[in-house]
C-alpha cells in the first residue's frame, strides 16, 4: 500500500511540472505585457519596472526563478494589485471558494448517491424514470444557465434567498445548488447503473435469501462495491466544480478565487493567473491522487504495483 502510494505520488510530479511549464510559457507567449495596457510609460520607467519584476531576464531564467519561488510556496508579487503578493490574494479568496466548492461536492454526493440508490431499487418504475429524467435535465442545463434561472425564481420572483454576495449561510445556498446540480445528476446516473449491477450479483441474492431487510442489504453489502465508479468520478467532479465555480462566483458576485483568474487574464497579471492555475492544478492533482488511493483501498481487485 505504501509503495503504491509513493509510486502514485511520483507519477504526479511530471503532471505538475507539465502544468506549470505549459501555463508559464503560454502566458509569456501571449502578446502584450502587464504594463502595456496602461498609459504610455517612459521607456526608462518601463525598463525599471521590468527590471524590478525580473521581466528583463531571459525566459528560462524567469522560469527557474518562478519554480524556485514555488518550491518555497511563494507565488510572487501581483502585477495588478500592487502591494499584494499572489499568495495573499489566493489566501483571501480560498476560504470562500472552498466553502462554495466543498459545499457543492458534499451536497452532490449526498443527493446524487441517494437518488441513484433510490432509482436502482425501484428499477424501471415510474419513480425511477422520473429520477432519471430529472437527472438528464440536470446534466443538460449548464450551471451558468441554471444560476441566473435560480436567481430569477428564488431571489427575484419569490424573494426567498439573496441573489448573491457574501453574507450569512443563506447567501451560499443558491450558488451551491447551481454548482452542485450537474454533479448530482451525474452521480445519480452513475450510482444507479453500478447499484443495479451489484444488486444482481450472487452475494446480494444470498443476503436476500437469508431474509435481510432491503435497507440493510443496501447499506451493509451493496453500497461499498457500488460506490467504486462514484469514487473514481470524484476526480473529474472536483475539476468540474472548480472550473464551474469561476463562473458561479462571477454570477453571484462571490469574492472567491475565480474572479482573480478572469481579471488577471484580462490584465495580463502573469503571476496572479499563474498562481490561480497552479493552485487549482495542484488541488486537482492532489485530489486525483487521494481518489486513486481511496480506490485502491476500496477495491480488492486493484493490485498495489
Amino acid at each position: 500500500m505504501l509503495r503504491y502510494s509513493l509510486g502514485r505520488l511520483l507519477g504526479a510530479i511530471p503532471t505538475l511540472l507539465l502544468l506549470i511549464a505549459f501555463s508559464f510559457f503560454m502566458i509569456r507567449a501571449a502578446p502584450g505585457g502587464p504594463f502595456s495596457s496602461e498609459r504610455q510609460l517612459l521607456p526608462e520607467i518601463e525598463a525599471n519596472l521590468n527590471a524590478a519584476y525580473h521581466l528583463d531576464e531571459p525566459l528560462y531564467q524567469q522560469f527557474g526563478r518562478y519554480l524556485w519561488g514555488l518550491a518555497h510556496f511563494d507565488f510572487g508579487p501581483s502585477f495588478q494589485y500592487r502591494d499584494y503578493t499572489v499568495t495573499e490574494l489566493i489566501m483571501t479568496g480560498f476560504p470562500v471558494s472552498l466553502r462554495l466548492g466543498g459545499g457543492a461536492i458534499l451536497v452532490a454526493l449526498l443527493f446524487g448517491i441517494g437518488a441513484g440508490c433510490f432509482a436502482a431499487l425501484k428499477q424501471n418504475s415510474v419513480a425511477d424514470h422520473a429520477v432519471m429524467a430529472v437527472s438528464m435535465t440536470g446534466i443538460s442545463i449548464p450551471n451558468f444557465v441554471m444560476a441566473p434561472l435560480l436567481i430569477l425564481i428564488f431571489a427575484i420572483y419569490l424573494g426567498w434567498l439573496p441573489a448573491g454576495g457574501l453574507g450569512d449561510f443563506r447567501s451560499m445556498i443558491l450558488p451551491i445548488i447551481a454548482l452542485a446540480l450537474p454533479q448530482i445528476a451525474y452521480l445519480a446516473r452513475l450510482t444507479r447503473g453500478s447499484m443495479i449491477e451489484v444488486l444482481r450479483s450472487n452475494f446480494i441474492r444470498t443476503a436476500k435469501a437469508q431474509g435481510l431487510p432491503t435497507w440493510q442489504i443496501v447499506l451493509r453489502h451493496a453500497l461499498k462495491p457500488a460506490l467504486l465508479p462514484v469514487v473514481s468520478y470524484l476526480g473529474p467532479a472536483t475539476a468540474a466544480v472548480i472550473t464551474g465555480s469561476v463562473v458561479i462566483e462571477q454570477i453571484f458576485s462571490v469574492p472567491g478565487i475565480g474572479r482573480f483568474f478572469v481579471t488577471g487574464a484580462l490584465n495580463r497579471d502573469y503571476t496572479l493567473v499563474m498562481g490561480v492555475v497552479v493552485f487549482y492544478g495542484v488541488l486537482i492533482i492532489a485530489f486525483n491522487f487521494l481518489v486513486d488511493i481511496a480506490y485502491a483501498w476500496l477495491d480488492p481487485k486493484v493490485k498495489y504495483r
Binding site: 501555463s23 446534466i139 441566473p148 436567481i151 472550473t243 487549482y280
Partner: protein, 295 residues
C-alpha cells in the same frame, strides 16, 4: 427486457447482426427517437428560420429596445437592450452553437481516432508511452488553458474550434485504443499483415472503418459537451464576437438583464438546454443499444 422480447429472442435465433440488433433497440427507445427528431427540427429551424424574419440579426430597432415578447411589434421573443430582435438572434446563435458543436467534435474526432488507433495498433512501448501522455493530460485543468488561449490570442472562431477540439480528444483516444486492441487480433488484419500491407495503411483501411460504430456513439455524446464548452466560453465573454452571437453569449446577456428583461435569458436558455437534452438522450440511447449487457 420484457418477457415478450426475451421470448422473441428464443423463437427466432437466426443470426441478427450486432448492428441490426442495436438499430432495433434504438428505434424502440422513445426518448432517443424523439431526440433525433427534435435535433433535426432544431437544425432546420435555425437554418431556415432567419429567412422569414423581418429583421437582420444585427439590426437595431430603437423604437422597441428592451421590449418584451409581443405579437404586435413582431418581436415574438422580444428584443435586447439595443433593440435587436431576439428571435432572429436566438436562431443565429443556434447556427453558431451547432456549427461549433459539429466542427469542434470533428477536430477531436480526427485527433482522437488517429492517436488511439496508432497507440492501440502498435501496442507495446509505443502504446504505454502514448497512453501515459494521455493520463498526464487528463489531470490538467484544460478549461483554464482554453480560457487563457482565448484571452491572449483574441476571439477568433477558428481558434475556438481548435481549442475545444483539442481538449475533447482524450476520451475519444482511450475508447478508440481499446477497440483497436481487440480489432487488431482479428483475421482480416492478420491477412493484411501477411500480405505485407504497411501498418498505417492497415490502420486506415481496416482498423478505422471498423471503429466507426463505437465512434458514432461517442460523437453523439461529444457534441453536447462541445456546445457546452463553447457556451461557457461565450458566457465569460470569450467566445464569438459581437454582433455575431451564440447561445452562450445570449444567455450571458440575459443573465445581465435578468431583472428588467427575463425573456432575454429564458428563450436562449430553453433552446440551449433542449438541444443538449436531446443530444444526451440520443447518445445515451445509442450507447445502451450497443451495450451487450442490456440493462
Amino acid at each position: 427486457m420484457s418477457v415478450k422480447a426475451a421470448n422473441a429472442g428464443i423463437v427466432a435465433p437466426q443470426g441478427r447482426s450486432l448492428w441490426a440488433d442495436a438499430w432495433g433497440k434504438l428505434k424502440r427507445n422513445r426518448a432517443a427517437v424523439a431526440g433525433v427528431w427534435i435535433i433535426g427540427a432544431m437544425a432546420v429551424f435555425v437554418i431556415v428560420g432567419p429567412w422569414f424574419s423581418r429583421w437582420a440579426y444585427d439590426f437595431t430597432d430603437f423604437a422597441n429596445s428592451s421590449a418584451g415578447p409581443a405579437l404586435a411589434t413582431g418581436h415574438i421573443f422580444g428584443t435586447d437592450s439595443l433593440g435587436r430582435d431576439l428571435f432572429v438572434r436566438t436562431l443565429y446563435g443556434g447556427r453558431i452553437s451547432l456549427l461549433i458543436g459539429i466542427v469542434a467534435t470533428a477536430v477531436s474526432l480526427v485527433i482522437g481516432v488517429a492517436y488511439g488507433a496508432v497507440a492501440g495498433y502498435f501496442g507495446g512501448r509505443v502504446d504505454s508511452v502514448m497512453m501515459r501522455i494521455v493520463d498526464i493530460l487528463y489531470a490538467l485543468p484544460f478549461m483554464f488553458f482554453v480560457i487563457l488561449l482565448m484571452v491572449f490570442f483574441g476571439r477568433n472562431i477558428l481558434l475556438i474550434f481548435v481549442a475545444i477540439g483539442a481538449i475533447n480528444w482524450l476520451d475519444m483516444a482511450r475508447i478508440v485504443r481499446g477497440q483497436t486492441l481487440s480489432l487488431k487480433r482479428r483475421e482480416f488484419v492478420e491477412a493484411a499483415e501477411a500480405q505485407g500491407v504497411r501498418p498505417f495503411a492497415i490502420i486506415r483501411r481496416h482498423i478505422v472503418p471498423n471503429l466507426l460504430g463505437v465512434v458514432a456513439v461517442y460523437v453523439t455524446l461529444t457534441i453536447p459537451q462541445v456546445i457546452l464548452v463553447e457556451s461557457f466560453l461565450s458566457f465569460l465573454g470569450l467566445g464569438v464576437q459581437e454582433p455575431m452571437t451564440s447561445w452562450g453569449a445570449l444567455v450571458h446577456d440575459g443573465a445581465v438583464e435578468l431583472e428588467s428583461a427575463p425573456w432575454m435569458l429564458i428563450f436562449p436558455a430553453v433552446f440551449l438546454a433542449l438541444t443538449l437534452f436531446c443530444f444526451n438522450f440520443l447518445g445515451d440511447g445509442m450507447r445502451d443499444a450497443l451495450d451487450p449487457k442490456d440493462r
